[in-house]
Amino acid sequence: MRVTVNGTERSATVEPRHTLAELLREDFALTGTHLGCEQGACGACTVLVDGASARSCLFPAFRADGTSVVTVEGLGGAPGAMNTLQRACLERHSFQCGFCTPGMLIAATELLAENVEPTEADVREALSGTICRCTGYDSIVAGVLHAADLIRVETGAASGSAMGEHS
């Protein structure tokens, strides 16, 4: 199979029972995608497949043939670099242990690609498929709203800040 991962074309031979998560983590050594339940419930393993979020723990690897996959490692471009969303989360102390982080960032990426003026409710809904056990979610929601603010400034899109920071 051939798959584009974070902009680079890759190829691999996979067994029918291999998942996309195993392909990414084991064959391509992209361990930023985490497995929290392997039941499709926790969301930590979420990646983008052709722009849409997918649970890589349940997604058969062979079905990714010919698609373009984005993982957390691909968000910032160059190694170690951070995009606006990641910087916004850094500034808002969004995460603690970091295990749900890839899933949260991918879910937020999907949201912000569709809606750069999300309300707090929009953000909570978009993140509700990913479980965080550390933060109580406030700081992640604040980070994503902050990112939306920054993205609007960067792109000159309509302003009207929703709620970049909680009191």
Binding site: E73, P79, M82, C97, F99, C132, Y137
Partner: protein, 780 residues
């Protein structure tokens, strides 16, 4: 020039760049040459005798390298056991089941193969014959005379019984205006870190050294136990931890799987990786909180507490967790139950039982039931006596002018700020306005409620509390830090903390940067390696870092600062008192030309004997220990408002306010994150989570689809307000890791009962999913 102090500011986390870019290193990310993978054969029965185990088919499966059962391990390793505390029966057990299985999921065999998939294939081929025994699933069943016994050699499923009497409750109750008798049940639920347990064992047949990389919160404790049980010399045993995907108490003990994985690696002479899956984690990694308290409480006509009698039953599950004994929990609950309230007459009886369920482990504020039951009890008393719930609390809290004093159990109460935090929470939530809104809403068939909760949290445990608990050998807990100046002048801290989300790489670096006078980017915090970090049994746990790790780090940093100044003093022949360190340079007061950057200090310290150290030893390398003392209380009032939909039973948390007093804060954003995360776990415990067992002992919550955890849609914005009381001691910070989870269930269940007053619903249990709300309202 003025340098901005980092302590007290929300410095960006040192951990975040790697976490946000997918470059963390969790245990499943570890790949070693020639590494094999482990899977476990587990019992499908809650209680059964193992008649036979046939591993033949698994052993000959291509790709399978090793299958081990207890018969293989028994000759070469020891059992899991703990020194009992007085009166406690502590079962001795084996890594892999021996003779009898006592819970669903108990490990029976380990299969090691080229891949995890093949190991699981092999595990499925291990044939085990069972003779099924009657299980004990319920705490009352466990105590029946004719109950099946988990440990026939002990003769009872009751493993601990204790009675304590303080004052004279009989006389106190005789003068009561109101007496309430209630039974409060807290349900079994679990820590649920997002990363399950796991480890990678690497054994060298040449050197006979074992290295175990593990997801754990106490690597020195892991090493200590592994060494004993594996009979592996400790100097040839190194335990390492990378990034840890949460723990909340679950990863503090030693797992049977840890032992079997290390034993397999030692037999094979190849690295073996074990990664627990979620079904295993929910069933066997440890569960918590299952306790029932029967309470009798007496008040006078004005609502003053006269006396309380408590009878506690704790369900410890099938096997004892090593490290913290069952009697520890009941005695901490006893010692903290009075809180900061005036209570002069108090009886406390406790029983711990063993059942065919998951092992009881500590979970974030392991004694939390004392707060939940006390604060529920106070609301029940308030309603019985017709007194406002805030008012009855104010009437019973100690006044400042009555402190310091010992509580009824002998715990030193110093600088209590519960009265202030309660009043502040009442103001913040706008209590009077809420009562008006509540009354209006009820007219329209909407049910709003409000609940308060006060608690004091030992953060860390203080000597008088440890004495009151009565079972711990050492009355004071120490913590050590080790700081080294490197040859280029950068600074490395070795801490015995084992952070798993708490941000110690940031907070401890903040303290060092301020104490020494360098930028935070020049400080690195090293943890998670028993070969280099100071010994400590606890690692990160017990809300100890803020005071104890900080005290050790600040002490070591001050010693390092003295050595740095000594280098310049000797070099320049200037009195040390005329020197300072500003922004990474030693400067001489009044002599602007004298500047010695840290790079030069480092080189000089390592190359010029006599500069840094009088005895001629090279480098700057300082150790400092810090030990617990009285008065280290974090204190909070939680207040929340809810709306209950009596059509669906759904509870919506409208507002959640925490007024927190943890002294000064090192990093306010990290403090808020700890508080909010704990509150979210408390809300989730009440509304969603339950480690459910069937009557036959089957486990019914083995996925995140049937063990529900609150999502971003279920948790409201949590308002955190800080009170900045300033302790007198040199380390003004208090722990906040556990408090959020301690206070939230009480505030929330109090609010729910308040909302449901028109239905006469009595909330005496903590798990309140929608169907239970409707049942308690009499609607279904």
């Amino acid at each position: 020039m003025t340098i901005q102090r980092l302590t007290g500011t929300s410095v960006q986390r040192v951990e975040d760049p790697r976490i946000l870019t997918g470059r963390g290193r969790y245990v499943d990310d570890v790949v070693l040459p020639g590494m094999l993978h482990a899977a476990f054969v587990r019992s499908p029965h809650a209680h059964a005798r193992i008649m036979s185990i046939d591993v033949t088919a698994a052993s000959i499966l291509p790709g399978v390298h090793l299958v081990l059962t207890d018969a293989d391990l028994r000759p070469i390793i020891g059992d899991l056991t703990a020194n009992g505390s007085p009166g406690l029966f502590v079962a001795t057990y084996s890594a892999l089941a021996r003779g009898t299985v006592r819970l669903v999921g108990e490990p029976i065999a380990i299969v090691v193969a080229d891949s995890r998939a093949l190991a699981e294939d092999g595990a499925a081929l291990v044939a085990v014959e069972y003779y099924v025994l009657d299980p004990v699933v319920d705490m009352d069943d466990a105590m029946r005379d004719d109950a099946p016994l988990l440990y026939p050699e002990h003769g009872s499923n009751v493993i601990y019984r204790t009675e304590h009497r303080y004052g004279d409750t009989a006389s106190a109750f005789a003068g009561a205006a109101h007496i309430v008798r209630e039974r409060f049940l807290q349900h079994r639920h679990a820590n649920v870190p997002m990363e399950c347990r796991g480890g990678v064992a690497d054994f060298s047949p040449a050197t006979r050294a074992l290295e175990y990389t593990v997801s754990h919160q106490a690597p020195h404790a892991m090493r200590f136990q592994l060494s004993l049980i594996l009979r592996q010399p400790t100097h040839l045993l190194r335990v390492r931890c990378g990034d840890i995907g949460g723990s909340f108490g679950q990863k503090g003990g030693i797992g049977r799987e840890d032992i079997a994985t290390c034993a397999a690696a030692r037999i094979l002479g190849r690295p073996v990786k074990w990664i627990e899956d979620r079904a295993e984690n929910l069933a066997v990694a440890g569960q918590a909180r299952e306790e029932r308290l029967e309470v009798e409480a007496a008040i006078d006509a004005e609502g003053h507490l006269l006396g309380v009698r408590v009878k506690m039953v704790m369900d410890t599950g099938a096997y004892p967790q090593l490290g913290f004994p069952a009697s520890g929990y009941t005695n901490v609950v006893r010692s903290l139950f009075p809180g900061a309230y005036r209570l002069g007459h108090y009886d406390f009886d406790a029983v711990a039982v063993t059942t065919n369920k998951g092992t009881y482990v500590p979970y974030r504020g392991p004694w939390e039931v004392e707060t939940w039951v006390r604060e529920r009890m106070i609301d029940v008393l308030a309603r019985t006596a017709g007194i406002d719930p805030v008012e009855i609390r104010l009437r019973n809290l100690w006044n400042d002018d009555e402190l310091p004093r010992k509580s009824v159990v002998g715990v030193e109460l110093i600088k209590m700020t519960q009265r202030e935090s309660l009043l502040q929470a009442r103001e913040r939530i706008d209590y009077d306005a809420f009562r008006v809104e509540q009354a209006e809403a009820r007219k329209n068939g909407r049910y709003l409620g409000i609940g308060f909760c006060n608690f004091i949290e030992p953060a860390p445990f203080m000597p008088s509390l440890i004495k009151a608990i009565g079972f711990m050998a050492a009355p004071r807990t120490p913590q050590e830090a080790h700081i080294r100046v490197e040859p280029d002048g950068t600074i490395t801290l070795f801490t015995s903390q084992q952070p798993h989300g708490q941000g110690h790489e940031t907070t401890l670096a903040q303290l060092i940067a301020d104490e020494i006078g360098v930028g935070i980017e020049r400080v690195r915090v090293v943890h998670g390696d028993t070969q280099v970090t100071p010994f400590n049994f606890v690692g990160t746990g017990g809300s100890r870092a803020a005071t104890l790790a900080s005290g050790a780090v600040m002490g070591a940093a001050r010693q390092v600062r003295e050595r740095i100044l000594r280098v310049a003093a000797e070099l320049w022949e200037i009195d040390i008192t005329d020197l300072d360190i500003v922004d990474g340079e030693v400067v001489a007061n009044g002599v602007p030309s004298r500047r010695l950057p840290m790079q030069m200090v480092g080189i000089l310290a390592y190359t010029r004997p006599g500069l840094a150290n009088e005895d001629g030893s090279l480098g700057i390398d300082e150790h400092h220990a810090y030990i617990s003392y009285e008065g280290t209380w974090s204190q909070s009032t939680h207040c929340c408002t809810v709306e209950v939909d009596v059509e669906t039973g759904h509870v919506r948390v409208l507002r959640f306010v925490v007024v927190e007093d943890c002294g000064e804060m090192i990093n306010p954003a990290i403090v808020d994150g700890q508080v909010r995360g704990g509150v979210a776990q408390g809300i989730s415990a009440v509304l969603f989570e339950r480690s459910a067992y069937g009557a036959d002992g089957s486990y019914r919550a083995d996925s995140l689809s049937n063990y529900l955890v609150a999502t971003a849609n279920d948790i409201p914005h949590i308002e955190v307000v800080h009170r900045h009381s300033h302790p007198d001691d040199p380390v003004p910070f208090r722990g906040v890791g556990e408090g959020g989870a301690i206070g939230a269930p009480a505030a929330l269940t109090n609010a729910i009962e308040d909302a449901l007053v028109p239905f006469g619903a009595k909330i005496r249990e903590q798990h309140l999913p929608p169907h239970r709300i409707l049942e308690l309202c009499g609607l279904i």
